[in-house]
């Protein structure tokens, strides 16, 4: 009998160990998610004591809102421009840094510095770097007698500023992962191909790239998801997605609806639409590349 009780206690003690993560998930994931779902069906307004059920209104309204479409377009535009640049540039840098030459280690460290800067810190720092009246970049342009660039105040240039800033921040991440992938390619393969008389381009196309594909796809996946939630640079550096709404990504628009406009119900509904959008993109991506992960 006593033996049975002891076994039962021993058996159940495992639940004690999983209790902290379960509580963590319940309080910080499940509860907020549930609360957000409920909020999205109401006209809840920050500051207002009363709110009522409005059905699907908050889910339908964004599809009649040009700013919602604009923010979706801006987000997808950034993903389609930023991610290929980062992947391409990161790959080139990794290939270069995978060679043996003097100063390679120092360069590797230098290339990785942006990775350690928090996005919000960079966005704040960017206000000085991209200061149009003579900041870091325009100051140099002025000294060289070149025309200054309206980094933040002109709609077209501002888009380029976001791209530039994000590429600067995140290319090192791609570089690091791809470099690790390159270094894991067995040297024997390369050497055997060389013995067979393969050229540099053939080596890259027939061995390096195929061997790197899972790594590149992984990093591509990370960068797409990350860029879909681009927030700090357009919000902080470009004054809430400006000029106008030129750089207003979906995350910025949702934030502004909630914390500037105080319309929590609408913001919650848009968050779920955004979640569906991200899930769709990621789902399609995973489906297309599933063979590499089998």
């Amino acid at each position: 009998m006593v033996k049975g009780v002891k076994a039962m206690v021993r058996d159940r003690v495992k639940f004690l160990f999983i209790l902290p993560p379960v509580l963590y998930i319940l309080t910080l994931v499940v509860f907020p998610l549930g609360s957000a779902i409920i909020t999205s069906f109401t006209n809840a307004r920050f500051g207002s004591v009363e709110s009522s059920f409005v059905g699907l209104r908050n889910y339908i309204a964004p599809f009649d809102d040009y700013r919602f479409y604009n923010s979706v377009y801006v987000t997808l535009f950034f993903v389609s421009v930023i991610v290929p640049i980062e992947i391409g540039l990161g790959l080139v840098l990794a290939l270069l840094m995978n060679r043996n030459f003097k100063g390679r280690n120092i360069l590797r460290v230098i290339f990785m510095i942006p990775l350690f800067v928090s996005p919000i810190a960079f966005a704040l720092m960017g206000q000085v770097i991209f200061y149009e009246g003579g900041g870091g970049i325009n100051g140099i342009l002025k000294d060289l007698g070149l025309p200054v660039v309206r980094w933040r105040s002109h709609p077209q240039t501002a888009i380029f500023t976001v791209v530039l800033a994000d590429v600067w921040m995140w290319t090192p991440f791609v570089f690091l992962i791809v470099l690790a992938g390159l270094q894991s390619i067995p040297k024997e393969l390369i050497e055997a191909a060389k013995v067979d008389g393969a050229s540099g381009i053939q080596l890259f196309r027939r061995i390096t790239l195929p061997m790197l594909t899972p790594v590149i796809l992984t990093v591509l996946f990370f960068r797409i998801v990350d860029t879909l939630r681009l927030f700090e640079i357009p919000f902080t550096l470009l004054g809430g997605g400006g000029p106008g709404i030129t750089t207003e990504t979906l995350t910025v628009y949702i934030y502004k609806a909630g914390f500037r406009g105080f319309f929590f119900g609408q913001a919650a509904a848009m968050s779920f639409i955004y979640l569906v959008l991200v899930s769709l993109i990621v789902g399609v991506l995973l489906y297309r590349v599933r063979k590499y992960y089998v």
Partner: protein, 612 residues
Amino acid sequence: MGQDLLKDKKMSRRQAVSTAAKVAVTAVVVGVGAGLGGYLAGTSTAPVREVTKTERITETVTRTITQTVTAQQPTPAPLRFDGVKVTVAALAGGARGPLSGPFYYYKDEVKKLVGMDIEVVELSFADLPIKIIADLTTKTGAYDGFVPCSNIMGDLVIPGYVHELGNWIADPRFPNWHPDKWSYAVTQCSQWGGKWYGVPWDSDAWYFNWNMKYMDKVLRDPDKRREFKDKFGYELDPYGWYKRRQLTWQKIRDMCEFFTGWDWNGDGEEDWGIIMGLRVGEQGPMWFVPFAAPFLVEYGPTVDRHHNIFWFDPETMEPLLKTEGMVAAAKLFKEIVTKYMPPEGFTFTFADKWDYFLNKEKAMFCWAAPDTATLAGNPEKSKMRGYLASIACPGSEVYYSLAEGRMVQKINIVGNASGCSWHGWVSTLSKNPEAMYWLLAYLSTPEKLVKEISASKFFWTGVDPGGLSLQVLTDYGGEATLADFGLPGNFVDPGYPNSLYEEGDLRRFHIAAYNNWFAADAIQHYLRVPGATAMYVSMDTHIIGEMCQGGISPEEALDRTYRDWNKIIDEIGREKMIRYYQEMIEYKKPNPYKPRPWLWDDRAFPKDLIFG
């Protein structure tokens, strides 16, 4: 008992005397010990009084008695808020910050006066309203009071988050901040439906400024004046226009064009006509709203559907954004900021814009909050001390009459209360509401607000003078003296720089403040209905962002704002919003604003440069 002792123990008389002596000595020693102990412990002990055998003991006794007398003096009555701590949320700025600074500075003084402790919670501009409202909606009650922008007033008053102050204002136990001496334009930001909910502190308004160093140089050059006349067909006479109540945005447009492209400061670069701080996400609409007011607000003796109205039709809550007056204002605003303001002005915060105007001197005009006048005297931030022209609310030569339904050709000047207008509020969740009110009232008394805080004694530039008649110089009908503003530069306080107001700058500023608050044709209402924050954000996005920077037409920008506002109104409930708006403007009641004669002082302006 003595006898029994002798009998039982068979003690001789000698032994008995000896024993008695020992007992006596022991008693003395114990007494002295007790006396010393009592002395050291700071309390009186009776036995000490009886021991006076030696000089040393006597001295000890004397000192002990002295201590006793002190301790027995009547205890002072406990201070009114002894042991009470109030927590106040204010705009982040540190111990010398524009709005947080005074709370730190008066901490010790308040503690000494009423025993209250003050804790300041500093929050960023964006976080301040969110944290305050989050605290109230979740019933956390972390703040006893707060000093936010007035645009969240409806969100504070209507759900009952803040105390109505009427009883406390009437209670003589609280400091008197003279509610009757504030201008209507300022008090509207503390009142709802005619009742006080906030304690006025800051008197924000937008003023027009120019650099007299360069303006006067041009005006003294007949060739330049001729150049202006040839180009625009009339005489350049900015001082004369201001004196005669003729300075309008239409004339300013021409002056901006004329002054763009010169190199004032000799840095080899072209300078600009005007500078503003139009960074989206800051206070962008505050630049447009007072600009547009004279195109639409028409004075009337009562607040009715067609008079003293700017934001909505009070009967339907139809936004007045698509009226001809608003379209004309938006077109002119766009023209000025896109042609005659440096493009970086669209990325400027307040600080950038002041630096550009006061320190770099790269623009002739500046349209901004009143802190410009305070900052002008600070040599660390300005090269314009003594050269700042502060001008009240330029008018418009044409405005849309809601009553007549057409544009009217007449100069219309409208005073504004644009900006944050930081006022203090007492949370209904506060456990010490009286203490919180006492503190807010104390800081708004003339002794503190006029002579120290708004006088910029310590370079707190966020609390601006102007609203309170007490704050205006005696020369201009107020009750403040030049000395109240530290002239001639006599403020000295450890850790703070001297106040460096220049008399001319100060006079011009006070004339402008007076004209804005008391002498304009009409006064514009400050938008503070529930949802006002969302409405300002919408204006910021469409008018400042999309129209001025993004290139969409004024009509399109106004239409997008119009649609957003209607959405906000419908979201909250149109019927409710009509009621709230009518309460906000005190609809159908007599207009509390009565214009006074325009103020002018020849001492403050160059007489030889008035031509008309």
